[in-house]
């Protein structure tokens, strides 16, 4: 059995914002390496657009406590309030740190970091939208990813680029390393470590229309499940209201933050009906549901399943007057073509390239797009992965970023809080891992056996002569999830989805692939990744079926109200080797905010 052996104090899997931030911090103190199936700058953090939330108060009054309350409310009161307070309090400091690393934020006339309005972020006293999203045009994620990677180069962080993690090495309930596949050569590498951090991102490709990269296949959470550990709150998956029609490409909420309005097929601005105070800047679950309800009522454009996002200066300026929306100096807000082209440059490019629309002249066709996993690998504030609903820690295992669930997003994440999450908890995790591994020796692993187990799994795919196609199964999974476990859900549909997903998992055992080679065999890896997506789809559907209420992104036609008495609790879901799903629950941490009805 041939394999390569490596030893590092800390192994981080994933090179998006969370992984790179953790690497910078752990790497300052202990031997750290990052494994990524992509070159780090290809990570999907780079696709984030509008901004990172922090109450800097650079343009108007703001407080981290307001940010925390907005996040708790946005989460529909199922986020853990201690974690949310930690994140929002840490936000200004971490944003200043990014600036000190050279991140090119846009600037205010005084030269400070520029901030813009975003959905769900408010002045808690006036209830009006507040400028809290620190931004760099509409490519804030790109700038964060580039800046963190640049710093990693500066500080000589070890990278294993284009290595796919295929297994966690767990011994006596402790994480002691990772088995990875070198994509270029097809060789296996055993990484022996004292600490393993999973920072593998999301899994939007469980659905048809998604803003997510093809490579977001939930590898970290799926492996966690396979080792008998649970995931948390999987039924809460965010559908971003404004994906480009048919393609799902993200059209940032900043378009609405800068004044863009949503218009239905009858030419009506419909958000005031659903959110009279902040209208288009309600939280994402609310806006996505509003679009669906318009479409269901026959108000989609041309009777189809999309509406318009209008950011043409003529329309925007008209509604600034109607809404009496003013600048901090008291003047009525006003935008022009140049403003749209510079503040929303990438968006303008996407619209021109993919749908032939110039957003300064025409409205943009949009529909909700599967965007972000609020749930994931349960962790504490220190990023330690939790083994069960009682809060026991898995020694040696850490999770940060979208693949994790601290939980700071609860039932619905606010825009700009994902970029904040990755840097706050990436930094925290890096520091904690450095401290933990200094007090710890390397514990033994059977590297040979670990590699042999993975080799056998790969051989099973390579040698399978079944009749099924991975691509067909993947498409069917997406169709099932899009039809029945999407923006609106109902008992019968979800039960049917669970049944069909189980059939797909059976069929998956009989897939064949064309490429049997060693070099750059993406055919093999994509087939393996499909197994991850299928597992995550199943636990998502099962957790959703069980939650008999509507909360945040989980909206049910048959249980339209939030039920705090019975359901203000986190789902903890396990999946055994036979496909049996077990659901447990744990309480939400409440510091001082009792649930109230959510009105925007």
């Amino acid at each position: 059995m041939q394999y390569h052996y490596h030893k590092h104090d800390v192994i981080i899997v994933g090179a998006g914002g969370a992984g790179l931030m953790a690497a910078l911090y752990a790497g300052k103190e202990v031997d750290t390496a990052v494994i990524s199936k992509l070159y780090p700058t290809r990570s999907h953090t780079g696709a984030a657009q509008g901004g990172i939330g922090a109450a800097l108060a650079n343009l108007e009054e703001d407080h981290w406590e307001w940010h925390a309350y907005d996040t708790i409310k946005g989460a529909d009161f199922i986020g853990d309030q201690d974690a949310i307070e930690f994140m929002c309090k840490d936000a200004p400091d971490v944003v200043f740190e990014l600036e000190h690393m050279g991140l090119p934020f846009d600037r205010t006339p005084e030269g400070k970091i520029s901030q813009r309005r975003f959905g769900g972020h408010t002045n808690n006293e006036t209830k009006k939208a507040v400028m809290r999203a620190c931004n760099s045009a509409d490519r804030t994620g790109h700038m964060i990813l580039q800046t963190l990677y640049q710093q990693c180069i500066k500080h000589n962080v070890n990278f294993y680029d284009e290595y796919q993690m295929l297994d966690l090495i767990m011994v006596d309930g402790e994480a002691r390393g990772v088995v990875a596949y070198e994509i270029d050569t097809g060789e296996l590498h055993v990484f022996h470590a004292k600490a393993v951090m999973l920072a593998t991102g999301g899994w939007g490709h469980v659905w048809n229309i998604t803003s997510n990269a093809h490579t977001l296949t939930g590898d970290g959470p799926a492996l966690v499940l396979r080792h008998g550990l649970p995931l948390e709150d999987m039924e809460f998956f965010q559908f971003h209201p404004t994906g480009l029609f048919k393609l799902g490409i993200l059209i940032t909420e900043a378009v609405r933050g800068e004044g863009g309005v949503l218009i239905n097929g009858k030419g009506e601005r419909f958000m005031p009906k659903y959110a009279p105070n902040v209208k288009e800047l309600a939280s994402r679950d609310v806006v996505s549901r509003a679009i669906y309800m318009e479409v269901m009522a026959g108000n989609g454009v041309d009777g189809k399943d999309y509406v318009y996002l209008d950011v043409t200066p003529e329309t925007v300026n008209h509604y600034f007057e109607v809404d009496d929306s003013r600048l901090p100096n008291g003047e009525i807000r006003k935008i022009d073509d140049h403003f749209v082209q510079t503040k929303l440059e990438d968006i303008s490019d996407f619209c021109r390239t993919y749908v032939g629309v110039d957003p300064t002249k025409e409205p943009i066709p949009v529909q909700p797009t599967a965007h972000y996993a609020m749930g994931g690998i349960p962790s504490d504030i220190d990023t330690h992965v939790l083994a069960n609903e009682n809060g026991d820690i898995v020694p040696g295992l850490y999770a940060a970023g979208e693949c994790g669930c601290v939980s700071v997003h609860g039932g619905n994440r606010l825009g700009t809080n994902s970029l904040l999450d990755i840097v706050v908890f990436g930094r925290r995790g890096g520091k904690v891992m450095a401290k933990d591994v200094k007090q710890k020796e390397f514990k033994p692993i059977d590297a040979e056996a670990a590699a042999a187990k993975v080799r056998a799994e790969l051989d099973a795919i390579l040698n399978n002569t079944g009749e099924e196609s991975a691509a067909d199964i993947k498409q069917e999974m997406k169709d099932i999830m899009t039809k029945d476990v999407s923006v609106f859900r109902i008992e019968e549909g979800m039960a049917e989805a669970v049944k069909k997903l189980r059939e797909l998992r059976e069929r998956y055992k009989h897939i064949h692939i064309d490429d049997k080679g060693k070099r750059f065999n993406t055919n093999l890896l994509e087939a393996w990744q499909l197994g991850n997506l299928l597992d995550l789809a199943l636990v998502t559907a099962e957790a959703a079926l069980a939650r008999k209420e509507s909360r945040g992104a989980h909206a049910r036609d048959d249980y339209p109200e939030r039920d705090d008495e019975n359901w203000m609790k986190h789902t903890i879901v396990y999946l055994d080797a036979d496909g049996k799903v077990t659901l447990k629950y744990k309480p939400v941490t409440v510091t001082k905010y009792q649930p109230v009805k959510r009105v925007y």
Binding site: R42, F96, P104, D514, G517, R519, N523
Partner: protein
């Protein structure tokens, strides 16, 4: 529309040299070349190998030579490239398999220009201040996604792989013209090397190839000018 894709194939485990293979697929004019490649991979021949990730021009994974011009497969629509499409790997880097090239020589050049913020002064408690004007000075080159479309379209790079290449110069430019950065003279020193900016013959292929619309040749010229008149 029916589309014919002529794709350069090469499997290092089987083939002694690259060869062409044609596939005919049904596509919509608004579909991307990437959609067609993935269709071939998923439904006709799973051995076809390429990199792709975000699929909307942000990650830079799927740079390839499409009808002789470097572009991202996810930003090339059939309405633009037509229904007879030739697809090759980007040139000047060793081919690993089919459309996948070895990015390491490219990344090595990138790392050589100190592509990170340098300022050893203790940072203030809050942000460093920067005027809007100073911030805009290097806006253009912050957009680079390291896709390598520019460097691998440069005839000078094809001829001399020691040439640091347009992408690395763009990355250096982003810091050289950042008013907060203090590493300009070190970077200009590196780029004044015979294999630095002076290898650029202002052919403009890089500017034409950039999927982020960065005026690459102009950025290189600004660095040349800085070496001549200001910092060295």
């Amino acid at each position: 529309m029916q589309v014919t894709l002529k794709i350069q194939r090469f499997n290092p485990e089987k083939d002694s040299a690259p060869y062409w293979k044609e596939y005919t697929v049904d596509m919509h004019p608004n579909d991307r070349v990437l959609d067609a490649l993935l269709y071939v991979k998923n439904h006709i021949d799973g051995t076809l190998t390429l990199r792709s990730s975000c699929a909307h021009g942000i990650c830079g994974s799927d740079a390839m030579r499409i009808n002789g011009v470097n572009q991202l497969a996810c930003k090339s629509l059939f309405s633009k490239v037509g229904n007879n499409v030739t697809i090759e790997p980007i040139a000047g880097l060793p081919v690993i398999k089919d459309l996948v090239v070895d990015m390491e020589p490219f990344m090595e050049h990138y790392r050589s220009v100190l592509p990170f913020f340098i300022n050893d002064d203790p940072p203030p408690e809050k942000e460093r201040l920067q005027s809007e004007e100073d911030r805009l000075r290097f806006e253009e080159t912050t957009k680079c996604i390291l896709c390598a479309c520019c460097t691998t379209s440069c005839p000078t790079f094809w001829a001399t792989d020691a040439y640091v290449g347009p992408a690395a110069i763009v990355q250096a430019h982003r810091f050289i013209f950042d008013s907060r950065d203090q590493g300009a003279s070190q970077r200009l020193e590196i780029l004044s090397d015979p294999d630095g900016v002076w290898r650029c013959r202002t052919i403009f292929n890089c500017t034409n190839a950039c999927p982020r619309d960065i005026k690459v040749t102009e950025a290189i010229a600004e660095v040349k000018k800085e070496i001549l008149f200001n910092k060295l």
